[in-house]
Amino acid sequence: MEKRVVFRSAWLPYALLAPQIAVTLVFFFWPAGQAIWYSFQLQDAFGLKTQFVGLENFRALFNDPHYLASFRITALFSFLVAISGIAIALLLATMADRVIRGALAYRTLLIWPYAVAPAVAGVLWAFLFAPSIGIVTYVLKKNGVDWNWVLQGDQAMLLVVIASTWKQVSYNFLFFLAGLQSIPRSLIEAAAIDGAGPGRRFWTIVFPLLSPTTFFLLVVNIVYAFFDTFGVIDATTQGGPAGATQILVYKAYYDGVKAADLGGSSAQSAILMLIVIALTVVQFRFVERKVQY
């Protein structure tokens, strides 16, 4: 006979869940609900006068070409950060997996950047690439590159992508390494005996077996690029020059916090919420099917 622990009480399970539900309600649902409520309002900065304006905030946003451009920039930025973060981490993990001597030291060093706060990572790279005093700038200028990300949008984008990726590589690396180590050696050896070279072994055995990890990292990295890179951008380009690095979350922050335009900022947050929900659905419905567990 199967033994199961069952709560006979009608209220106990709810009581036990209550703290978690309370936390979720207070810290997630309440603010989210408030953001949606604000997105239908027009307020002055001090909240002295509030008007209900319906969808006016949304209409204004979609009539603003710079807001629409912000979508494109966010897509490009997230794509670059997620793809390069995953690719570099996978490369490093496969390398580190083969190292025998001093493996621990390599691995520890590769994990380090993850401990760096995004804002600090941003400042660090901004220093290296600073238009007048940066050491990388110095080298670039010697080689005839006109490096000034304060004005050149593409260079600014490159800078924030590098800083954001660098930070995320460590995280991805950890997961890939764990994934690689859980692949049975015998499979790879068998393939090697059959005459498959390292490249073929990687693409036909290792990579498919890593796909659950890769999928997980893809989701996490895109969410990271969408939201957590805020610190990097705030510490370096602040969305400039000419809006070249203004990703959606940064614009929502700027309009709401710095420019005290709560209605517009809340409307942007509501749109961001929708995007993330849509992205998650797409990822689990379509991409996940291709994953072999």
């Binding site: 307020q43 900065a45 002295l48 006068k49 238009p131 304060v150």
Partner: protein, 437 residues
């Protein structure tokens, strides 16, 4: 046991702290002055606290200008604002519209029975912060203007006369070319691009930034920065950038550091940078009026101020406001103002402080510190040059800067960019108007 010791320690600390807290009324002052200027603020607070025993002024650094402004707004919404908050000139319209959130300075002084004469303050400064019924709404504190600095050593090296700085943008172009040819890595850079090249440019050439006297006569104003004069100026900057004569450094004071390091030979930025330059520059420099276009009629007019004023938030006790009023009187004393003016480069806010500094012979010994004052008073201000008051201008200025950047990048012609700046800026103005009806 340990808990008991801790409790005893806490009780003792409480006993020690309590008398001080009861005897004095604390006055919170949120500000955005960092570095040297922050030290000076602490000095002022110390001076005020030592001058009387009833009140204790507590200055708190709250981050950049927009940051401390939003912090104060958030605190007001949460029901616990500071007594005094330093707000930059860009936030003026927002603060003015917030009736019920702020206590006008004229009112404050009257209620507290402090002697107060608005005429004692520099008109170029007070004009900016006075409503159309003549009430001074905030207390002038740190006001500066955009001025022009040159590196005299770099001028000499380039074969230019260091005692004859360019007066017009035509002469400026010649100097920039020569500096570049002499091997100067960066001939010219600027701080605060919109403030210098749109806002001060407009006042200096007596052209409007917006309708309704630059927004001072009503919130139903629209931007006019796509005039031929503006377009010509921005196009000129883009040409300079293309020739390698102008290096763009960013939207805040980043350019000042490149001038101080000697990298850039010329700089337009705030007059409040003079203290920093004097301290850091390892070369001879001088400060001058902004260059002007001699083919625009009426130029040069007068420049406008930047910087910040102190706003008093509402909802505090009457006794607290007495303390705030006392502090404002202290702050306006000529000796306090002269010290602030001479050590920071901000203009003195009272005429008495200016006269006192002049008499002390300070300007002869430190040429350049009075440039901003003379430039602000170059001519009697017109509707185009007495200041500006645009709603949501934190965003508005950002729009101007974005559009200027796209011209400098070579992505947009100046005319198209200025048209876009007006279009986008007007959307912000209309939104502000709707929110503050």
């Amino acid at each position: 046991m340990r808990i008991k010791t801790l409790a005893a320690a806490l009780a003792a600390a409480g006993l020690l702290a309590a008398p001080a807290a009861f005897a004095q009324t604390e006055i919170q002052w949120w500000h955005s002055m960092s570095g040297q200027h922050n030290d000076k603020i602490n000095e002022i607070a110390k001076g005020f606290n030592a001058s009387q025993t009833e009140y204790k002024l507590m200055p708190v650094y709250k981050g950049s200008y927009p940051e401390s402004m939003t912090a104060a707004i958030a605190a007001f919404r949460a029901g616990n604002p500071p007594h005094i908050v330093q707000v930059f000139e860009v936030g003026t319209a927002t603060m003015m519209a917030a009736k019920g959130a702020i206590k006008p300075v004229t009112q404050l002084m009257k209620d507290a029975g402090e002697p107060f004469n608005p005429k004692a303050y520099l008109p170029a400064v007070t004009g900016y912060y006075t409503d159309n019924r003549g009430n001074m709404l905030s207390m002038p504190f740190n006001s500066s203007s955009a001025i022009f600095y040159i590196n005299k050593d770099a001028f000499k090296k380039a074969g230019l006369d260091p005692n004859k700085p360019p007066k017009t943008w035509k002469e400026f172009a010649v100097a920039a070319g020569k500096l570049k040819a002499s091997g100067q890595a960066c001939a010219y850079t600027t701080g605060w691009p919109s403030w210098v090249h749109i806002e001060n440019f407009s006042a200096w050439h007596n052209v409007p930034i917006g309708t309704k006297e630059n927004g001072m006569a009503g919130i139903d104003t629209t931007f006019q920065i796509n005039s031929p004069a503006h377009v010509k100026h921005v196009a000129m900057l883009a040409d300079f950038a293309k020739n390698g004569w102008f290096t763009y450094s960013g939207r805040r004071q980043e350019g000042e550091d490149r001038f101080i390091s000697g990298e850039c030979g010329m700089l337009t930025s705030s007059s409040s940078a003079i203290g920093k330059i004097r301290k850091g520059a390892k070369f001879e420099f001088s400060a001058h009026f902004l260059p002007y276009h001699d083919d625009i009629k009426g130029a040069p007019q007068n420049s406008i101020i930047g910087g910040a004023t102190l706003w008093v938030m509402s909802g505090k006790k009457a006794a607290d406001y007495k303390g705030v009023a006392k502090f404002f009187s202290y702050l306006s004393r000529p000796e306090v103002q002269m010290d602030w003016h001479t050590s920071t480069g901000y203009v003195p806010i009272t005429l008495a402080a200016y006269e006192m500094t002049k008499k002390s012979g300070y300007y002869e010994k430190n040429p350049g510190v009075d440039v901003a004052i003379h430039q602000l008073n170059n001519k009697a201000p017109t509707a185009n040059s007495k200041g500006l008051r645009f709603g949501g201008f934190v965003q508005g200025r950002e729009v101007f800067e974005e559009e200027m950047e796209s011209v400098l990048q070579g992505k947009k012609p100046a005319k198209a960019a200025m048209d876009d700046a007006v279009k986008r800026g007007n959307v912000i103005l209309r939104k502000f108007e709707a929110a503050n009806k």
